[in-house]
Assembly symmetry: C2
Homo-oligomer: 353 residues x 2
């Protein structure tokens, strides 16, 4: 097997220098964007520390990862509530519309329209069209999620003014010039990065193997309503949702590890990276829908709501769980194509240490 290193990377002296250049680039982006924080930059740094941690000072790496994770959670919450709000208001507007031809459908690339042989009147709409509880339910979701978003915004501002954030920014500044290595005197050949990235691919395959993928591949499998996680303890999501969340993380790690290898592999990373972005979109969709379903269920527990409002929230909850099922179905259809594209068994990545 010949070692087809890209010309641009051929001059790279070591795995350490390539990783250092990648982290310096990400840290530079982070610092230039301040006071805005680009969460995907933070996730890329975290991904590089996770995937190539064997090359780095362990104590430094783990502390930085912990601080990055806390920041991503705190800053991510506000954006999460914004997405949840948009999703739920879009859903309720679609469920209450009286002419579906004027409303974009949530899924499917189908454009056949109403399509019942030229009937003139618009008689297809949302399940909650003209339902008296819909305006109140919409207003309640709007109010509750806007309030939650405001609280998250305040928490994010506090975080950005905290000593922890300033310490993190200092470490990102250091990262631009000096990468704390595990063995500063040693260096590894550039191809070592490929072996580590290959392990991220293997880890992804392992987490996906723990999903009930055969079931998800069956449309209308009942997971939307009849087999959903039972959250006995609200602080701990039930394990099936957790299994999907782990796959999201594994896709992210595989993607960011492969990005680090781009100087070595060049255009050969294009297809697998596009595949990973595609898979991540389905996973984000099912996570957002699961979060929105939970928000609808929570709103239904508000004291003194009317039965009509509660009924509408029941339909919205079911609708969002159906979106979870649909997104997992879509993932289950995309995954085999991704696997057969073969990047996980690419000789570059599979060449283990």
């Amino acid at each position: 097997m010949t070692t087809e290193i890209e010309p641009a990377a051929a001059g790279a002296s070591s795995a350490e220098s390539l990783l250092g250049a990648h982290l310096a680039d990400q840290a530079g982006r982070f610092l230039r964007a301040l006071p805005d924080v680009d969460l995907s930059t933070l996730r890329r740094v975290d991904g590089a520390l996770h995937g190539f941690g064997a090359l780095l000072d362990p104590a430094w790496g783990e502390t930085l990862r912990g601080d990055l994770a806390a920041l991503v959670v705190t800053l991510g919450q506000e954006r999460g509530y914004t997405r949840r709000l948009t999703r739920l208001l879009t859903a309720i507007d679609s469920l209450t519309c009286t002419d579906a031809s004027s409303v974009p459908t949530p899924r499917s690339g189908d454009d056949s329209g109403v399509a019942v042989g030229g009937a003139p009147e618009p008689a297809i709409g949302g399940l909650l069209a003209n339902h008296p509880g819909a305006p109140k339910a919409r207003a309640m979701l709007d109010r509750q999620l806007t309030l939650a978003r405001s609280r998250s915004h305040t928490a994010a501002l506090q975080e950005l003014g905290s000593a922890r954030f300033h310490s993190l920014a200092d470490r990102m500044t250091l990262l631009v010039s000096d990468l704390p290595l595990r063995a500063p005197a040693e260096s590894h050949p550039p191809e070592q990065l490929l072996a580590y990235a290959g392990r991220m691919g293997e880890a992804l395959e392992l987490t996906v193997s723990r999903l009930p993928l055969d079931r998800a591949a069956q449309p209308y499998n009942g997971d939307a309503l009849h087999r959903v996680p039972v959250a006995a303890d609200p602080l701990h999501s039930a394990h099936e949702d957790v299994a999907w969340t782990r796959v999201s993380a594994a896709v992210r790690y595989a993607r960011y590890a492969l990005e680090v290898c781009r100087p070595l592999l060049g255009a050969r990373t294009d297809e697998p990276l596009a595949g990973l972005v595609h898979l991540a979109a389905h996973l984000d969709e099912q996570q957002d829908a699961a979060d929105a379903a939970e928000a609808a269920a929570l709103a239904a527990r508000t004291p003194r709501i009317t039965p009509a409002t509660a009924y509408v929230l029941g339909v919205v909850h079911a609708d969002q769980r159906l979106e979870v099922e649909a997104a997992r179905h879509a993932f289950s259809r995309s995954w085999p194509d991704f696997i057969t594209s073969g990047w996980l068994t690419d000789p570059w990545l599979a060449r283990s240490t």
Copy 2:
């Protein structure tokens, strides 16, 4: 093309005598079963009158069909409420169960179970597991549908004692011996029945062509919740549900017409008849689920229910519309196989008059 008439039918003198024998057989079954009424016998008589009406006395045929239809509606209601009740109680029990492995799922032949890598605790259940509104919603559906069923039972008993029913029984007795023909002096060759049955196949193809079948073939197409019939006038169902109901009738007519031709075609009817029974099962399923969804929505309009009860009914309504979508999806997958099996273009049936 040679005319391969079955040996058993080779001695049949005419289309009229074959039709007469079929109707005499059905009328005999009806009379022997009394005081029980087998609705499928009534539907078979109606189907024969519809498919082969060109051979029969028109005034007699249309009057009998009207009386048969009224009887099927009146007697069918009680059975409809029984099915609706069973379906809704099964749905609510599945939605509220806390261990899906012990509850049969409504759809899918999948048996992969919970399947998340050997986790010990049962954490997958229905969306309404432990929901405080579930017992009240279940009791309300049980009460309302049992009451409706009792009323239908009373109406059915009254119908069976009515002058109209006695008149119908008299005409069925006549049917055993004397079939009122359009032109008693004439007779047609037996193959004429095949031409009429072929028309039922063409009519089926036409009604199916009016369905949004491309959309139904796309799983999670949004028809469960985002594109459903809007019943502006509760006495008139909206047209998309009506289009599906028409296909149910067309499948029934095609099936019963083909049964009349069995003495001519023999075992060649086995496969198309099995196909029609299979299609009818999907159509019955979507009809039952649509009726159950409506019953849940109606129950939610009961005055003075609690918000928790209303919320549960909202989820049940959505669940049953999802079953409608799933059954239509299944039909859309079965239909192309049925068409390519070719019975609608079978030379026997396509040979038009």
